[in-house]
Structure formats: structure tokens, C-alpha cells
């Protein structure tokens, strides 16, 4: 279980997260929902150790992530698919995946099984990442993370700007991961995706988490998402 306990996070002097707590179990999907600038990306970066946490702690099973050097966090089983993909632009598809494989020490079987999920990438192994289409880039960002054989995966708006069939593919992959007992943290703006997939939903408002509800509660009351996302 990944657990975020009352963290405060700031960029230099500007505090962005306030006493924020979250938890997600293996084999379940936690959706983070909030407006632009609420602090969703900052939350995921804090889990990855990319921004120092000032107060509180983050743990994964027995491991206290907040005391690890940032580059050791992926090795403890946590993979990150960042907002805007952030591929290694000048490296090829295969090299981007190799970086993921190195992080986990996973071998050829992992590589092959990831490519099976994204057959489109198979045809483009030697193409530079920056020359892929938007949808292919998102697949590669997912593939690179999956090469790390994660026990927890953090996905920051993986369906942003994609056409419906591509969104469908990403959703299928996420459900597949869930069935493999991976813990999933999903930042998502599409209400229908949240309703369809979430086991629990954490609302984030100005860097705080006023409430977390279960997926079923949400499905009984779909307009609650709108309340947290909609214009004031």
C-alpha cells in the first residue's frame, strides 16, 4: 500500500500542498481530481521524490520513500508517467524503453510483454521519440514506465489530447495493470473515465484534500466531480 501522510510541499517559498494525505491499495485505482493548478502534478512529483517534502511522510509498504534519495524511488517499485509525456526526445523508442528496463533490471520477457500491449510501437523501435505522433508518444510513455515492472504506477493525465480509440486503449491497459495487482494513482480530468474506473476518488482543492470518496459513492452521485472541477 502506498500512503501519503499529511505532506506539506513548497516550490522555494510558495507552498503548494498543505497537510495532504492519500492512500492506495494494490489492485485498486485512486483518481486525483481537481482544477488546474490544484496541485495534482505536484503530489505525484512529491511521491517520486522530485520535490522535497517539508512535513509528513510517504511510505510504500515498509519503505519510507521520503528518506530515500530520489533516484532510488523507482527501484522500490514505483513508476511515473508524467504529464506531457516527457520522453527522452532524441532517443529511439527502444532506447526509451531500455531506460525503463535498466531501472528495474527487468529482462527481455518484460520488454516483449510490454510491446505486446502496444503493438504500434513494435513497428517503430528505431524511430526517435520526438517524431512519434501524440498518441504513439503517450503509448511510449506508458511502455517506458511498464518496463520498470512497477508495483505502483502514477499516471498524470495519460489521456490528455487523445482521440477516443486511443483513450480506450490506455484505459484497457490501466485495467490490465489493476488485474495484475498494481496500485494505480490516476490524475484524470475526464469525468466519464473517473466514473468508469475509480475505486476511490481524492479531490484536491488548493493543495488540500477535503475529502476522498469511494468509486461507488461517486457513481451514485456523479455531479460531485463536477462540483470540484466546475467553474465557481
Amino acid at each position: 500500500m502506498l500512503e501519503v501522510r499529511s505532506i506539506d510541499v513548497a516550490y522555494d517559498k510558495v507552498q503548494v500542498l498543505f497537510n495532504l494525505s492519500l492512500r492506495v491499495e494494490r489492485g485498486s485505482i485512486l483518481c486525483l481530481v481537481g482544477r488546474n493548478g490544484a496541485g495534482k502534478t505536484t503530489t505525484l512529483k512529491s511521491i517520486m521524490g522530485l520535490i522535497p517534502v517539508r512535513q509528513g511522510s510517504i511510505t510504500f509498504d515498509q519503505t519510507v520513500l521520503t528518506t530515500l534519495p530520489p533516484h532510488e524511488i523507482p527501484g522500490s517499485g514505483i513508476a511515473y508517467v508524467p504529464q506531457g509525456r516527457r520522453l527522452f526526445a532524441e532517443l529511439s523508442v527502444k532506447q526509451n524503453m531500455d531506460i525503463g528496463l535498466m531501472a528495474s533490471g527487468a529482462g527481455q520477457d518484460t520488454y516483449s510483454s510490454v510491446l505486446e500491449m502496444f503493438p504500434k510501437l513494435q513497428e517503430r523501435l528505431n524511430q526517435r521519440a520526438e517524431t512519434l505522433s501524440g498518441g504513439e508518444q503517450q503509448m511510449l510513455a506508458m511502455a517506458r514506465a511498464l518496463c520498470m515492472k512497477p508495483e505502483v504506477i502514477l499516471l498524470d493525465e495519460p489521456t490528455e489530447g487523445l482521440q477516443p480509440s486511443m483513450i480506450e486503449l490506455i484505459r484497457t491497459v490501466i485495467l490490465q495493470l489493476k488485474s495484475q495487482n498494481v496500485a494505480i494513482v490516476l490524475v484524470e480530468q475526464h469525468v466519464d473515465t473517473v466514473i468508469a474506473m475509480a475505486d476511490s476518488v481524492a479531490f484536491i482543492v488548493h493543495g488540500r484534500n477535503p475529502e476522498t470518496i469511494s468509486g461507488n459513492e461517486l457513481r451514485d452521485n456523479p455531479d460531485r466531480v463536477e462540483r470540484y472541477l466546475g467553474v465557481e
Binding site: 530520489p70 523507482p74 511515473y80 508524467p82 532524441e90 532517443l91 532506447q95 531506460i99 528495474s104
Partner: protein, 307 residues
């Protein structure tokens, strides 16, 4: 000597400058490209390379080749280790902040220079070349019996000078293989492209930086070891290679290794040719003008990408 053979010998001298400059400038270029650090002390690592080469060859004695081979192997490693220590003690402490690293490496420049002066003294130190056979070079001339090979007086070079060019090409080839064909090269390139994402994929960015800083310094030192049998070692010799490396890196395009090598060839050759026909000072003036033109008309350099 006539113009043709004269130009030929000038180009050969230029090629030696170019070869050593390429090694030195590529060191500066990878440090800037991967770490975003402008290393003002780069010329001092070059100087250390030359001085250590003298020190090691003297220490070992015997046939010049024995000492020289030892210097070629030990010097870059020694200078690289010193650079890694400087990275730990200085650059890491200021978190590789672009502006503060400039000031810090200016300080490092003087620390290295003055320490060398105090330890090894102000004299210029010669190093004997491991082999140094003079070879006369032929020239083609149209004479009474048609085209003929002649050996003009003064048209000659040494086996060692040719070996410097071959060695530089070999080292650059090895570096290219390292960057494109190995795991560590892949890690270095990923770090260059996106430091934060590299961290998020388990890459220990600080270790990569230390390695790159050591590698950059080692390349400068290696260039100096190669040139020292031709030029002598001296504690102030780091200034020119620093200036020329900056010129080359800017003309070639910041962070572009290929651009750096092409620009080193261009600047090295023109430096050799202009120095022989006119004066070394004019060569430096023209190189500096070339930088000014590049900055005005193509600020990203010949091979750089626009920001």
C-alpha cells in the same frame, strides 16, 4: 619553398592543432551539454595534463617511450579524479546553478594554476616524444617529363606529429562509441535530455555529473599529453586552449559534439595556416571574429538547435 608545399605544411600543422583542440573542446562541450556547466577551469585541466605528463615521464625515466606511455594512461585518469573531487567539493555544493558555477570555476582556475606554480615552478618543461623520426614529404610538380614527385627542401614532418592526428581520431571514435553504443552513454544522453525524468527512471544524476566532469577533464588532459612533446608544459598554458575551446563550442553549437568537432577542424586548420603565413595573433583575431559572426547570424551555432 613555393606556395603549394608551404600551404601543405601549414595545413599539416593546423591539423595537429585541430586534433588536440577537438579533444579539448569536446570535453568542454559534453560538460556543458550534459551538466549545463560552463567550466572556466577547463584550460587548467589541460595544463595539468601537460605538467603531469612531464612529471610522470621524469619520474619514470628510461626510454622516452616508456614514460610517455605511462603518462598517456595515468595522466587523464589522475586529472579526471581531481575533476571528480572538484565536482564533489564545489559544483555539487552549489547545486550546479548555472551562474554560480561560472564564478566557482573561475576560482578553481586560479587555485589549480597557483598550486601548480607552487608545486612545479614557473619553468617551461619539455617532454621527449616517444618516437620522432623526420619524414620528408613529396610534392607533385609539373616538370619537363610531365607530372613528377619531388621532395622540396623543408617539406617534412615527424612520425610523432602524424601519430597525434591518428590518436585524436581514434580517441574521438572511442568516445563516439561510448556515447552511442553503451549503457553508460545512453544514461548520459538521457540525463542530458531531461534531468528530472532521468531521476524518475532511477538514474543517479549526481553520479552521472561527476563522471561527465571527470571525462571532460580527462579529454582535455589527454589532448595536452599528446601535444606536450611538441609544445612544452607550463603553468600558464591553459589560457589559449580555453579560449579556442569556447570559440569552437560556440561556433559548433552548444552541446553538439559533432558541431564541436567540425568547428575544431575549421578553427584548428585556419589557426595553423594563418599562423604560418601571417601571425598567430591574426589567427586568434579571425577566430574571435568568426565567433562574433556566428553569434550575430546563427546564435545557436552551426549544428545547434534553436532554443
Amino acid at each position: 619553398m613555393e606556395f603549394g608545399p608551404y600551404l601543405f605544411i601549414a595545413s599539416l600543422e593546423g591539423a595537429i592543432t585541430a586534433a588536440v583542440l577537438a579533444l579539448t573542446a569536446v570535453g568542454l562541450s559534453i560538460v556543458f551539454g550534459i551538466m549545463r556547466v560552463v567550466n572556466v577551469a577547463h584550460g587548467e585541466f589541460y595544463m595539468l595534463g601537460a605538467v603531469f605528463a612531464w612529471w610522470i615521464t621524469n619520474l619514470i625515466g628510461g626510454h622516452p617511450a616508456v614514460g610517455f606511455v605511462a603518462a598517456v594512461i595515468i595522466t587523464p585518469v589522475l586529472v579526471g579524479v581531481l575533476a571528480v573531487i572538484a565536482d564533489h567539493l564545489i559544483l555539487r555544493k552549489i547545486d550546479y546553478d548555472p551562474e554560480r558555477t561560472i564564478v566557482a570555476t573561475i576560482g578553481l582556475l586560479y587555485v589549480i594554476q597557483q598550486t601548480t606554480l607552487m608545486t612545479f615552478g614557473p619553468e617551461a618543461r619539455p617532454v621527449e616524444a616517444p618516437f620522432n623520426k623526420r619524414i620528408a614529404l613529396p610534392w607533385i610538380e609539373y616538370g619537363e617529363q610531365g607530372l613528377a614527385l619531388i621532395w622540396p627542401w623543408g617539406l617534412s614532418t615527424t612520425t610523432y606529429k602524424l601519430a597525434v592526428i591518428v590518436a585524436a581520431i581514434f580517441i574521438l571514435l572511442m568516445l563516439w562509441l561510448l556515447m552511442t553504443r553503451t549503457r553508460i552513454g545512453l544514461i548520459m544522453r538521457a540525463t542530458q535530455l531531461d534531468r528530472e525524468m532521468a531521476t524518475a527512471h532511477g538514474i543517479p544524476v549526481n553520479k552521472v555529473y561527476a563522471l561527465v566532469f571527470g571525462l571532460g577533464a580527462g579529454l582535455a588532459a589527454l589532448g595536452a599529453v599528446l601535444i606536450v612533446p611538441i609544445q612544452q608544459a607550463h603553468y600558464l598554458m591553459g589560457a589559449d586552449p580555453l579560449l579556442l575551446s569556447f570559440i569552437v563550442v560556440i561556433i559548433g553549437g552548444l552541446g553538439s559534439v559533432v558541431g564541436t568537432i567540425v568547428a575544431a577542424l575549421f578553427i584548428g586548420l585556419s589557426d595553423g595556416i594563418i599562423s604560418v603565413f601571417f601571425t598567430p595573433t591574426l589567427a586568434k583575431i579571425i577566430a574571435t571574429l568568426a565567433v562574433a559572426f556566428v553569434l550575430v547570424f546563427r546564435p545557436q551555432g552551426m549544428f545547434g538547435k534553436p532554443e
